[in-house]
Symmetry: C2
Subunit: 377 residues, 2 copies
């Protein structure tokens, strides 16, 4: 997944310290693949996945809309050339003053998942469109989403009804099937919930128009994942099944699926050691860890592919850890990572599939280490 352009950049520029390199050509291809797989859905890129200005600008030019989590992300999308009608304030947890600021900037589409949030939007963004997020069970996802966002479908009906009462435009329903979702039937189950909300409200004369199918589109880490086309087919089939000929507008919010495989982190082996002469497992310490951008290794949830110049040689299991004095800064320990026996101090390690959810997760200065630098090429 390290493209030739990325390899050439690293070979020529030889940046010191850990860094992320993102290949815009891959982002471009991913955008086209989503367009092709789901030609009737609007693409709202999840800015939080990687808000690099070059990425936002490319996607704005390609016609993408943007799913944002904060006023700062709205401003980034605007700076990249997106008009406010292409921006959704997709965070269900918003300060009322942030809703007001978004409204002032022209944003008219807001996520909610409870009556309390509807009330804020009604006060601070009168007349705006709202969509209600529905809880899904997250089964099949590598990183299920807990119950933090959304409400049960029956409550979503109440939420959207209250939006109508308060003068807002009850626009639709959203869900998120969980990150790195590889079970295609997850969309089917969620769309059945969406249909329930549409149908119940239709009986009261409230006609919803949109289904926001969220993200969850996986990027390729160590295992192959169904390609975008397969996702598109499964989703289209489920839409037909639940909505028949009256298909709603649909939105998708790829983040990881748009940029994950476009980025590679270059790191360096700082130390290889054992804790005891009797240990079978070596400890390999990199110059990047959980607090330097690899937060998604939490609970060893995401297992990035690693590339070294010794690949192909004999391997042995390693515990992989970051460079800080924090004992929690260990990447893979429960399931040790097989790495070449000849791997040694000073060697370069490429961490693939790291275009999403890395740079912005990096800590400001933990242990004095600077945040992850990024080059978008």
């Amino acid at each position: 997944m390290a493209t030739q352009r990325i390899l050439d950049f690293l070979a020529t520029r030889r940046p010191d310290g850990p860094c992320l390199v993102v290949d815009l050509d891959v982002v471009h291809d991913n955008y086209r693949a989503f367009e092709k797989a789901l030609p009737d859905s609007k693409i709202f890129y999840a800015v939080k996945a990687n808000p690099a200005p070059e990425i936002l600008k490319l996607l704005a030019n390609l016609g993408s809309s943007f799913d944002t989590a904060s006023v700062a992300e709205i401003e980034m999308a605007l700076d990249a050339g997106a008009t406010p009608d292409r921006i959704s304030f997709g965070n269900t947890i918003k300060k009322e003053r942030d809703v007001a600021r978004a409204f002032e900037l022209g944003v008219r589409l807001f996520a909610v998942d409870c009556v309390e949030e509807v009330e804020k939007v009604a006060r601070a963004a009168p007349g705006a469109r709202v969509f209600c997020r529905v809880l899904t069970d997250g089964a099949g996802a590598e990183w299920p989403l807990s119950r933090k966002f959304g409400c049960v479908p029956a409550m979503a009906v109440d939420v959207l009804r209250s939006a109508k009462v308060l003068g807002l435009d009850p626009y639709g329903v959203s869900f998120h099937v969980g990150s790195q979702q590889t079970d295609l039937s997850a969309w089917d189950r969620a769309l059945d919930d969406a249909r329930f909300v549409f149908q119940t409200l239709a009986e009261e004369g409230i006609v919803l128009k949109m289904v926001n199918m969220g993200g969850g589109f996986p990027t390729r880490y160590l295992r192959d994942v169904p390609a975008a086309q397969a996702y598109g087919q499964a989703i289209f089939t489920a839409l037909r099944k639940h909505f028949g000929n009256r298909l709603p507008e649909t939105i998708i919010e790829p983040g990881r699926g748009m940029v994950g495989n476009a980025g590679v982190i270059k790191s360096e082996v700082v130390l290889v050691s054992k804790k005891s002469e009797d240990d079978d497992v070596r400890w390999v310490y990199l110059d990047i860890g959980k607090f330097g951008g690899l937060a998604e290794t939490m609970d060893e949830a995401i297992r990035y592919p690693l590339v070294t110049k010794h690949d192909g040689g004999e391997t042995a299991p390693c515990v992989l850890a970051g460079p800080t004095c924090d004992s929690a800064d260990v990447l893979y320990e429960k399931t040790p990572y097989p790495l070449p026996i000849s791997l040694t101090i000073g060697d370069e390690v490429l961490i693939e599939g790291t275009g999403a959810y890395t740079t912005t997760y990096a800590s400001v200065a933990f242990n004095g280490f600077e945040p992850l630098r990024a080059y978008v090429i």
Copy 2:
């Protein structure tokens, strides 16, 4: 633990958004308490706990030395007025070029835990003092340290012997009993390991001089912890027991114990909601979460005391979560947090005991949210 000075600052300045306020008077008192409890130990403040320049300057003036994790932290300590002989490069995972830079800056004391690291120090910092970190089991600690740092005592003997062979000064042994250690006998067990290394090397004519007893001194969160005096007494007793009348030089490295209780984070309730009408547990969303500075709530390890203006009224269990669109950004869920029933959107929540390991953990810009601001008063 919110001192009157902190409360006055917040009342007068009314900073917008989440922020940490640290009271230097508390840091001052903590330093004096450590001095009094362990009058024969040198205090090396663990800079990573909170590297705010005002804190480093205060401690430098009080006579503190500094335990550092990186070249940047060494430079911060120097900027605060510490001379290089009061600085230890305490990270066992160092790039050789960083060792060289530290040596250039005058640092002569380095942590190691394997022969490979000794070789780097020998090349880049010839003649320097090294101490070898020994693994402890971490029993009794709220946040045990895994096996990331240190080696077994038998291997520490080899490591320090190799330091001697390579022209370094094998200076001593270090250990860390685990963070928030409340079992006073943990120091006793670790000091027994230290004695083993001292004694074994003494038989070969290598005379170690120093025991670095690390950190682990707890700060008061929800439970009372033995006061500094009790720690001092227990440690002194263990030293006598294992080293008799030939007490080594000793170093302690308090971080959390020095600044944890000196800081309070001011946050705001963004949303209070339920996921279903039938839920017993409310979700309370704050404007700060795991990626905004409260990383130590990972696995609900540390349970910070929360203060609201409704305290004293009836409470009910809440799931407490942060403001980002990340489902992992939940602070307390497995063990819900009892909070006043009357707590509502817009209320201020003070998060106490947050002077350590908060600001520097904050992510650069996750979801577009700015890092945690800090005021040191």
